[in-house]
């Protein structure tokens, strides 16, 4: 969960903010050294905002602390004077000879953090983003060898299912390592400390299966979404010696029960498209394909697949509502209305109400500024702009952010638009003019609202290497390729409608 502080541009906020950044960094799992460096970076940026952003006047700025299991991010957002740090490089000779230390603070910031990004958001001000990667001990370093499994060759093993506890963390990491070697996509599961932290913070829940010898032989978990009541069915393993004994089905039943007890409104899976196995499993358990996200993850994330698949990995979003859909009121953009209707039908929506076109504001009546949150996944090479209010500067803000992220080698940019917002059809039309195409429906993805996701691939992809399973996913793929003017059975070439696409 984000923690946001609103602060005045006064010198006396620098010390407490720096202290908070340090303590927060330690709490989310940074080492003392990395937390200290993060604190120094925060000190430098907050000092800069206090001194220069609002010359001669009172102002305020926001600082947001955001963390997941492997990343700690601090976002400083202010609407002061225009400024671009890249235009003010530090020069040590100028500092000594002319007493001009311009750029010194930013040089220190860049040294102190693993990733630093500056986003110019036009009328919405500027964002400075600081990222530290959270280091943890890999299970292979903690326990390189394990005892043999006494139940391995027995057919009559009794299994016990129980809700997963923080104290199970090390056993889960061992199971993952034993089952998948180094090839499991969810890297956090190799680090007991991260698993324990996520369970303690109630960021995920699940079940473990133990054999008679108390060995952990199964694990299945749901990861809660940070800003909605849905969860990702994203972590599963069954020991190779205990497969074909119905453990996966028993765990999934227990997991769905838990999800219902915990009040989740839906669960989803991110199924890779380098094969259709995960998609088949998801559909077996009643999930519906709602989106095809191109190039969302780097191939290195899937080590077992990387040898054969060198392009960024595309993902199918499969969703199952746990609280049934009833009536949905959605402003469907005309070019995607049929597709969205098909998806809503598959999700069991009883009544889809489309307000009249007259309710949709024209471009000139959109608010002047866009309110949105950029969710940048530096290690995965993608960014999702979650729009709260679409304004006339939407594409300017998006394009400026992509320009600012040019050095980060992004593979794809996505924009999430709330379907209950009358401005969404207008915003969609504007984004389509700037190379964005359909990705799909993200059901209940942010604050339990349905979002239309648009995407713009920034690299070329081979469509034939994207395998989809369900009829709906096939329809999505066909539509998206047509919209991009990418042809199957051929290596893709970005079309003129994707002006900034670059070759891999």
């Amino acid at each position: 969960m984000d923690q946001t502080l609103q602060l005045p541009n006064h010198v006396n906020v620098i010390g407490p903010t720096t202290d908070y950044a340090y303590k927060w960094g330690l709490n989310v799992g940074l080492s003392d050294k990395k937390a200290l460096r993060l604190a120094l970076a925060v000190d430098e940026l907050v000092t800069d905002v206090v001194r220069f952003a609002f010359p001669g006047e009172e102002g305020s700025f926001e600082i947001t602390f955001r963390a997941d299991l492997s990343t700690a991010e601090v976002i400083i957002h202010e609407k002061g004077e225009p400024f671009d740090p890249s235009q003010h490089p530090y020069d040590p000779h100028r500092a000594i000879e002319e007493d001009n230390f311009e750029g010194a603070g930013f040089a220190v910031v860049q040294h102190c953090v693993d990733d630093f990004a500056f986003l110019n958001r036009g009328r919405e001000g500027k964002e400075f983003r600081l990222v530290q990667h959270i280091e943890s001990e890999h299970i292979a370093d903690l326990h390189p060898t394990e005892q043999p499994d006494p139940d391995a060759d027995r057919e009559d093993v009794d299994y016990t299912l129980s809700a997963v506890q923080p104290s199970d963390a090390e056993d889960i990491a061992k199971l993952i390592y034993r089952t998948y070697g180094y090839t499991y996509a969810k890297e956090d599961l190799y680090y007991p400390e991260r698993i324990e932290r996520a369970l303690e913070r109630n960021e995920k829940f699940g079940v473990v299966v133990r054999s008679e010898s108390r060995r952990t032989v199964g694990y299945f978990a749901v990861l809660r979404s940070p800003d909605s009541t849905i969860g990702e069915v994203g972590e599963a393993a069954v020991d190779v010696n205990h497969r074909r004994r119905g453990l996966m089905k028993r765990m999934l039943r227990a997991l769905i029960d838990q999800a219902n007890e915990q009040g989740l409104s839906g669960v989803f899976g991110e199924a890779v498209t380098v094969h259709d196995i995960s998609q088949r499993v998801n559909h077996h358990f009643g999930m519906v394909s709602t989106a095809l996200l191109l190039g969302l993850f780097p191939p290195e994330r899937f080590r077992s697949l990387a040898d054969d698949h060198t392009q960024p990995i595309s993902i199918v979003i499969d969703f199952r509502p746990l609280i049934p859909y009833d009536t949905v009121t959605a402003y469907l953009p005309a070019p995607y209305a049929d597709l969205l209707r098909q998806i809503y039908d598959a999700l069991g929506v009883e009544a889809l109400q489309r307000p009249p076109a007259s309710a949709v504001p024209p471009r000139e009546e959109l608010p002047a500024t866009t309110e949105m949150d950029a969710r940048i996944r530096y290690t995965y090479g993608h960014v999702v702009f979650v729009v709260e209010t679409a304004g006339q500067d939407l594409t300017d803000q998006v394009q400026q952010a992509l320009d600012d992220l040019d050095d980060e080698d992004m593979s794809v940019a996505c924009v999430d638009l709330p379907l209950d917002d009358p401005a969404t059809p207008t915003a969609t039309a504007v984004l389509r003019e700037h190379g964005f195409v359909f990705a799909g429906l993200m059901p209940r993805f942010h604050r339990d609202r349905d979002y239309l996701r648009l995407q713009r691939p920034l690299v070329a992809l081979d469509p034939d290497a994207i395998t989809v399973y369900s009829d709906l996913a096939t329809t999505l793929k066909r539509h998206i390729l047509e919209e991009l003017s990418w042809t199957s059975n051929d290596t893709a070439t970005p079309s003129p409608s994707v002006p900034d696409a670059t070759s891999t």
Binding site: V11, I14, G15, T18, R37, A104, G105, V108
Partner: protein, 97 residues
């Protein structure tokens, strides 16, 4: 920030980090001191505002001595390529007098 003055020597002990706030306090109390001892035993961080202040004090002819600067101070000097210009051996007092 704790302060002591003995003749021309001003000794300051920031209670927290050596940052913009501490620099402003230091300048406020500097008066005509020609020697400044800055005890950084309680400072976790020394930022670029502090580094700039040190440079400017020395440029004004004030003798500056640092006691127990945190490790990150040396890192900041290295990033800013100022180690030799700052003559760290002279700047930092190795043992308390």
């Amino acid at each position: 920030m704790d302060l002591e003055r003995h003749g021309d020597t001003l000794t300051v002990r920031p209670r927290r980090d050596f940052n913009l706030m501490a620099v402003r306090h230091l300048k406020y109390h500097l008066d005509d001191a020609t020697r400044v001892r800055i005890d950084l035993a309680r400072a976790r961080l020394v930022d670029t505002e502090a580094v700039m202040a040190l440079h400017r004090l020395r440029a004004q002819g004030v003798e500056v001595i640092l006691l127990e600067p945190p490790a990150i101070f040396y890192e900041v000097l290295e990033v800013l390529e100022l180690e030799s210009a700052f003559k760290v051996e002279q700047l930092v007092e190795r043992e308390r007098s």
